[in-house]
């Protein structure tokens, strides 16, 4: 290419336009920088800003933008979940502040707290009552692996023994920023069609 020749007009600049890759880089959860994502799969744009896409990729894109959580607090982590949704750490910036009281209107179940053997069947039932597609975030050490109650006689050693978990958020309890990070990770996963 000659020096004075302008580069060809690029289609929509996804590196800038895609808000997924504009999110702040954080090491809060110890994961380092986010994965480098390619252009959102299935999307092609021409010079007139007309976007061609498959229905699936568009649906996944739309779903990833507003995961509604189920208002389901179990223990200490629930307080931090409230904090994340309240004014200081505004979870509404990421479309996930609408805590639904009924599982039938929820997309994401944030398991915030210790799950006991008595609670596990109810948790499974709530999960089954949620409509497809549905995702689960295990918030805190207790829900992820049993945490500090590793030798208790009455707690479940990780909620993944009962329901499939998509994102684990470590911490005891995780900071609101860590939960936000978890929700952003989940958004990436949903956008990829997961």
């Amino acid at each position: 290419m000659a020096v004075d020749q302008k580069p060809p007009l690029s289609p929509i600049h996804f590196e800038v336009a895609d808000a997924l890759r504009q999110r702040p880089i954080t090491t809060q959860t110890g994961l380092g920088t986010p994965d480098a994502l390619g252009v959102t799969p299935g999307l092609i744009a021409n010079e007139d800003n007309v976007v061609f896409a498959t229905v699936k990729s568009l649906v996944d894109w739309a779903r990833s933008r507003s995961p509604w959580p189920l208002g389901y607090g179990l223990a200490c982590c629930a307080i931090e979940m409230f904090s994340a949704a309240s004014s200081t750490h505004d979870l509404a910036r990421f479309g996930a502040e609408v805590f639904r009281a009924s599982p039938r209107q929820a997309d994401v179940m944030i398991v915030a707290g210790t799950v006991t053997h008595k609670m596990a069947p109810r948790l499974r039932r709530l999960y089954e009552q949620m409509p497809e597609p549905k995702w689960v975030i295990a918030m805190g050490n207790c829900a992820s692996s049993g945490g500090e109650f590793w030798d208790s006689y009455s707690t479940l050693q990780g909620v993944d023994t009962v329901v499939p978990v998509d994102v684990y958020v470590p911490g005891c309890p995780p900071r609101p920023e860590a939960l936000t990070e978890g929700i952003l990770r989940l958004r990436e996963k949903i956008a990829k069609g997961g």
Binding site: L70, G71, Y72, G73, L74, A75, C76, A78, I79, E80, F82, S83, S86, S87, T88, F99, A101, P103, G113, T114, T116, K118, M119, R122, L126, E148, F149, D151, S152, Y153, S154, T155, C172, P173, R175
Partner: protein, 382 residues
């Protein structure tokens, strides 16, 4: 309810419906956790109410027997997880009572400061969720905004926003960082105005809030005493009992600003007033502690290998919900763990009035009454 106007050809007996069993919880936004209530309803009246607990039973008391005295406060945190410092105080106090450890005076003053800050944090989250229960959204946002300031200070003091692990038998883990006292004072000055100007103006200026609370869920003084209710709930019913004054511990007897808030109405609104009054009282106490704060060590010298001697003790602390107590037995010798640690959770005791309180009330009042009790399920089930 059945209409009160007479309908032609229909007598009152025809309108009677059969009783309905309604299950509330364990996943319900207004049960503040995982409480489950089984209600027997006749129309909108609650005939019978049976609380079902244990959905958050984590076996804390058994775990205490397997942890050393220095690991114990970390698990005491988990009981009442919105006012963690007060549980830790009860745990550390019980160990100190067995071993007769003399805590340095600076540590006692710092303990009182973090205790009262923790009480404020607990009442703030209660006020916010109570507002949500009766339909006000803004107090929740404002209360959690101010609670974040307290949590930021806690994070600077002990490195964690919740579940602090700050108390140790014989003192505290760290001293306050430089500039912390000024930060607390500035926060209190800023926050004191907000209690009157923001929260009370917003809530008590609202007709709906008053309508739903005044005269609802009245607990007479005798009933409160019979059920063993403690803390702000008892003080709203006219029981003048505050452990900080009546069974003094730490440096509370030396404080001149400690004047417990006592009301006599016993309804949900007076419970609200008592808790708001306690937040203001806590501000005065913290200011006095900052003024009188002595220098010196923050932890008693226990030696490298410290063993708790044989003995038993019951130590109580005026928690955010009532009397937080630890009954601890130590077998002495080389045993590093307590033989038994029984925790008295005030929420558990306060919750047992719910069947009596709900009998014959309307189901619309249930949420307001439950909210005014202020229980934390981690402490109920332990």
């Amino acid at each position: 309810m059945a209409t009160e106007t007479e309908l032609p050809g229909i007598s009152e007996a025809d309108l009677q419906t059969e009783e309905l069993i309604l299950n509330l919880g364990p996943q319900h936004p207004s049960t503040h956790g995982v409480l489950r209530l089984v209600l027997k309803l006749s129309g909108e009246k609650v005939v019978e109410c049976v609380p079902v607990m244990g959905y958050l039973h984590r076996g804390l008391e058994k775990i205490f027997e397997w942890r050393t005295y220095h690991q114990g406060p970390r698990y005491a945190d988990q009981a009442d997880y919105v006012s963690n410092m007060l549980n830790e105080h009860a745990y550390a106090g019980a160990v100190e009572a067995i071993a007769e450890i003399e805590v340095p005076r600076r540590a006692e003053y710092l303990r009182v400061i973090v205790d009262e800050l923790s009480r404020c944090a607990s009442h703030l989250i209660w006020l916010g969720t109570f507002g949500l229960d009766v339909g006000a959204t803004t107090p929740f946002l404002w209360c959690l905004r101010d609670r974040e300031d307290i949590l930021d200070m806690f994070e600077e003091i002990c490195g964690s926003r919740m579940n602090f692990n700050y108390y140790r038998p014989g003192g505290l883990l760290y001293d306050f960082p430089p500039g912390m006292l000024g930060k607390i004072s500035r926060f209190l000055d800023r926050w004191e105005k907000r209690i009157d100007d923001d929260y009370r103006e917003l809530l008590e200026g609202n007709e709906i809030f008053l309508e739903r609370l005044v005269g609802v869920g009245v607990i007479p003084r005798e009933v409160a005493l019979q059920y063993g209710i403690t803390g702000p709930m008892a003080r709203a019913s006219g029981v003048d009992w505050d452990l900080r004054r009546d069974r003094p511990y730490s440096i509370y007897p030396e404080l001149t600003t400690l004047k417990p808030v006592v009301l006599t109405e016993g309804d949900a609104f007076s419970r609200y007033l008592v808790r708001v009054g306690e937040m203001k009282l806590a501000i005065q106490i913290i200011r006095e502690c900052i003024d009188k704060l002595p220098g010196g060590a923050i932890r008693a010298r226990l030696g490298h290998v410290w063993k708790c001697p044989r003995g038993e003790a019951y130590y109580t602390v005026e928690g955010a919900k009532g009397e937080v107590g630890f009954y601890m037995i130590s077998t002495g010798g080389s045993n590093p763990n307590p033989f038994r640690a029984k925790m008295r959770g005030p929420s558990f005791v306060n919750l047992q009035i719910v069947p009596w309180l709900m009998k014959g009330r309307l189901i619309a009042d249930l949420v307001a009454i439950l909210g005014s009790i202020d229980f934390v399920l981690g402490e109920v089930d332990r």
